[in-house]
Symmetry: C2
Subunit: 189 residues, 2 copies
């Protein structure tokens, strides 16, 4: 290791990580971020989000060079033509991705070298709610199941502690389990 | 219109839609769906979900021919190399996509022909929570703002009613605002 390249563990530069944490500790105002997505309806269940700009650490980000495009859809049974995963599937992906990255970062900080992190997520839903057929079932998933397989150069107990800490810190796990206030504005011209 | 092609409004076959709703009303057990995502860590903040199979209407779906792959990442300031939108941005997309599809379907059912549905979503977050620097800020977004612009062949009041009904029926809006029970299992071998 040299001061220039830093220590890379699990693909994470831990020198940069600890420097970032120290900076935010001394200047907490730098911790204010805002992420964004812009969405446009195309046809039927097909719509597309564009994601690029965000606010971070006291200013608008200028490092992202390309925008990301995400296409949503529905399968035939939900009246679409499979133009992309459906919104509820995207939510499962968001949760899987956030827990996984949290596991990888926590492991890097705790000197655990991971060899694999795999997960399968399931969401059970009674679509009578979202389709407006019956007011009783909730609109969203009744429950989400997450099954992780995590391997690395640490005893089982330490790997389980890493997953627990990741759950306790994951942004999307917090939002999906606890909910977030959402304010919707509408313009019609 | 013919009985074969059905009435298409906003890209939605409303004959199929009403037939589906009638079927689920008489056989509510067909409303039980399960969606899934499988995720695999690649390196650092880069992980990928694969989405294909789901359970619907009494059996495993066989209509989806291709699997969807979604890559997640983080920007440099969050220790990644922009291999994809980050998990919190994916959550914003899931919410935008679900509200938009709900608007399109509700409008189709209510004989409103839409000309455009656009939205911008913002999520404000103090990253001290997710980074574990300070236990006080929550890990996820403190609030999400959704700004819709909806146009179509209906008076403003009717367009606003469509958006209200879509909010009241959206699966992801329900989950993001109210939360969902999430059960996490871990294997380490």
């Amino acid at each position: 290791m040299t001061a220039v390249t830093g220590t890379i563990r699990n693909g994470v530069n831990t020198d940069t990580m600890f420097a970032t944490l120290d900076l935010i500790k001394t200047q907490p105002e730098l911790a204010r971020f805002q992420f964004r997505a812009t969405n446009r309806w195309i046809d039927g269940a097909h719509n597309r989000s564009t994601i690029k700009g965000f606010y971070a650490a006291g200013g608008e980000d200028t490092t992202r060079t390309d925008e990301f495009e995400l296409d949503a859809g529905e399968p035939a049974i939900l009246l679409g033509i499979d133009t992309g995963p459906n919104p509820a599937e995207y939510l499962l992906h968001a949760l899987a991705a956030c827990l996984t990255t949290s596991i990888v970062y926590v492991a890097a900080a705790r000197k655990v070298e991971l060899t694999s992190v795999e997960s399968t997520l399931t969401g059970d839903i009674d679509v009578r709610g979202a389709l407006g057929v019956d007011p009783e079932p909730r609109n969203g998933f009744e429950r989400i199941g997450v099954s992780f397989r995590v391997t690395g150069n640490a005893p089982e107990e330490k790997l389980r502690e890493v997953v627990e800490r990741a759950k306790a810190r994951s942004a999307v796990y917090d939002m999906v389990t606890n909910g977030v206030p959402v304010a919707v504005e509408v313009a019609t011209d």
